[in-house]
């Protein structure tokens, strides 16, 4: 049965998402852990490359936010971000740091944007929480199951807010699909599809090799030790620093984690499964693709992580996901176009541009910091969707079907898989 009020509800959601409503904490009343009443949320940033700069540009557009500090191990990036921020504000106020602890020690900073390479995401987010900061962190948010648990634990421990960079949770076309499922238009949900392709660029199994050593640049240009951070030592090669770290095991969780952190996360969110993970993982296909990992939740719902090319076979765009119920199906991606079964088509309506998802997502965090309510992509939610991806990645490495117990946090049919739940971090870093 379709909810007759679906349109009204949708408009209400959109209204609040597109035009962020910042309610001063003075009005709400300050609670333990709340940001003191102030006009602006003060942000700092750590490790801001191309993706981070995109998120930063949205933060800078919010009058309710102020970005005051950048920390990066790359001198060029520090200078670039400072220049961008100072130009936006018309002053010279953005401070530069090469030590994250100095930035985090600033009492005036409420929240931190973390957009480093994946290896740094969890350790830095936890350190930020220990310093009392709220966090916006790019995805993938963790390098292992163990990091995922530590992340969720730390943000609960310090009562801090965490927004994973899973901005599609605040994207109108994705929200409409979720709304259709929730309203019963699709009937009983039985299968979800998360695009984790294309394997031609993002194979499920990253390389465990090293690149040849190159001469280290001067430390003031690039601090290789700090760049490596929690990742195991290896000789310097400039390709890693230029973004070529992806698809190397010590820095990256392969295509399943890379894209599953986008699309598996969407499935969890849409189906209301933010508090659990699938209990079974069956890898199908090879590393050169196309491949799938067939997963099943305890409630019988299936999740298919599939290599469906960059734009998806229905050309719904990158990061597509699909929900199938016994009465209909719906699929969408970054192109914002929604494909669906014929019976769903009358319920569709135009949705806003995909680019607004990130604006909404940043606004969602700013609202949350003011209200102290959890944002859409909390640490716990991100941990669960990432654990599903890590489990699928481990199943693919093992080449066998794995059974997983979410409560016991262990595979029940493979000891080797259990030994792959965590990775040692390079000293002195820990989670």
């Amino acid at each position: 049965m379709v909810d007759a009020n679906i349109m009204t509800t949708r408009r209400q959601i959109l209204k609040s998402a597109v035009a962020p409503m910042i309610v001063p904490s003075l009005v709400l009343g300050q609670r333990a852990g709340a940001v003191p009443p102030s006009d602006k949320i003060i942000f700092g940033g750590i490790g801001i490359g191309a993706r981070g700069a995109h998120v930063l540009s949205k933060i800078l557009d919010f009058e309710t936010a102020r970005f005051v500090a950048i920390c990066d191990v790359r001198n060029e990036r520090r200078e670039t971000i400072k220049s961008t921020v100072d130009q936006k504000y018309g002053d010279r106020g953005c401070e530069m740091y090469d030590d994250q602890f100095e930035l985090l020690a600033r009492a005036d900073i409420d929240a931190v944007l973390i957009a480093t390479g994946d290896r740094w995401h969890t350790p830095l987010a936890i350190i930020a929480a220990q310093h009392g900061k709220d966090v916006y962190c790019e995805k993938p948010c963790s390098m292992s199951m163990e990091e995922s648990w530590a992340l969720a634990d730390a943000f609960q421990r310090y009562n801090r807010l965490y927004q994973a960079g899973c901005q599609r949770r605040n994207g109108a076309n994705f929200q409409l699909c979720k709304e259709l499922l929730k309203a019963g238009a699709l009937g009983q949900l039985h299968t979800m599809y998360a695009n984790v392709g294309p394997s031609v660029n993002w194979p499920p199994l990253p390389s465990r090799d090293w690149l040849a050593a190159e001469e280290l640049p001067p430390k003031q240009v690039l601090d290789w030790d700090r760049w490596l951070g929690p990742a195991p030592w290896r000789p310097y090669n400039s390709s890693y620093v230029r973004g070529g770290w992806r698809n190397y095991y010590d820095f990256h969780g392969g295509g399943i984690l890379e894209w599953g952190s986008h699309t598996v996360d969407l499935c969890h969110w849409a189906a209301g499964l933010d508090d659990t993970q699938p209990v079974e993982y069956e890898p199908v296909g090879g590393n050169t693709g196309p491949y799938q990992v067939l997963c099943k939740y305890a409630n019988g719902v299936k999740l298919v992580m599939r290599d469906d090319g960059w734009d998806g076979s229905l050309k719904t765009g990158s990061c597509s996901f699909r929900l199938e119920g016994d009465q209909g199906w719906v699929e969408t991606g970054d192109a914002t176009k929604i494909e669906c079964s014929d019976n769903i088509r009358p319920l569709l309506r135009p949705t806003e541009a995909a680019s607004l998802a990130l604006v909404n997502h940043v606004g969602d965090l700013i609202r949350s910091i003011k209200s102290r309510e959890q944002p859409q992509a909390s640490a716990a939610a991100a941990a669960n969707s990432h654990i599903a991806c890590h489990a699928a990645f481990i199943a693919f490495q093992r080449g066998k079907t794995l059974a997983w117990d979410p409560a016991k946090r262990e595979f029940t049919n493979d000891d080797v898989a259990n030994r792959m739940r965590s990775r040692a971090l390079r000293e002195p870093w820990r989670v």
């Binding site: 333990a32 009392g132 310090y158 030592w233 965590s422 040692a424 971090l425 000293e427």
Partner: protein
């Protein structure tokens, strides 16, 4: 009606191909080696560090108890320490605990910190006395790592040591001690020791303690006292 002109095709710009790992830095057959072959690599002084690194990773995933001594010998290696711990951490055999505990007295600085982190991850309660002393080390990073490890061990004995240290430590070490106590409280809660856990949270709510930990403790008290369905 205006005719739209199709945009001019953009010239294809070929991206530079990513470099290929040289043959001597490719994992190849190490990925399928058994424990005996891995130990041969690890104990051969002439083995390149790449091979030793990969052998440690493979040995850890295999759970090769026989390789523990060979990996323990690499804990003092500046470059291979992490790989050795990658290998040792997941091996659920007392010999791995013993190797890590033994290294506590042999290492300094970051290498020692790495070993402390591995001990914490394994929740090795036999290391508690040694870790307790390290919270007062001159190296604040070592002291902080020891406090975190005690938090991960998380039993009543670890909590007692951390409580004592909270009054005697400063700065980042004090933060780590407080963090360790919060972790202890979580372990105690998970194990059903609610009163002990709440006692720790009250202890951490004192005004002179680091603000993030104090607010965390206060939030935990509220969460626990308002939890629906808790026994009253």
């Amino acid at each position: 009606m205006q005719q739209s002109t199709p945009p001019a095709a953009k010239p294809e710009v070929e991206k530079p191909k990513p470099p290929t790992p040289p043959a001597e830095l490719q994992e190849r057959e190490i990925a399928t080696m058994d424990a005996a072959a891995l130990i041969r690599i690890l104990t051969d002084a002439g083995s390149p560090e790449f091979q030793k690194a990969k052998a440690c990773q493979r040995a850890g995933e295999l759970g090769a108890v026989e390789a523990v001594p060979a990996m323990a010998a690499l804990l003092k290696d500046e470059r291979l320490n992490t790989y050795a711990r990658y290998g040792l951490e997941p091996i659920s055999h007392p010999s791995a605990d013993e190797a890590l505990r033994s290294a506590l007295t042999q290492l300094k600085g970051n290498l020692l910190i790495g070993v402390i982190a591995s001990i914490g991850k394994r929740r090795d309660a036999k290391a508690t006395p040694a870790l307790a002393k390290m919270m007062y080390a001159g190296d604040a990073n070592v002291a902080s790592a020891a406090a975190s490890a005690l938090g991960q061990i998380g039993d009543a004995a670890a909590a007692k040591e951390l409580q004592a240290a909270l009054k005697k430590t400063q700065g980042l070490t004090k933060m780590a001690v407080a963090d360790g106590l919060l972790a202890c409280a979580e372990h105690l809660l998970a194990e059903g020791n609610r009163e002990q856990a709440l006692g720790l949270y009250v202890f951490l709510s004192a005004p002179e303690l680091p603000r993030p930990a104090r607010l965390g403790a206060m939030a935990a008290i509220i969460r626990e006292e308002t939890r629906v369905g808790r026994p009253r």
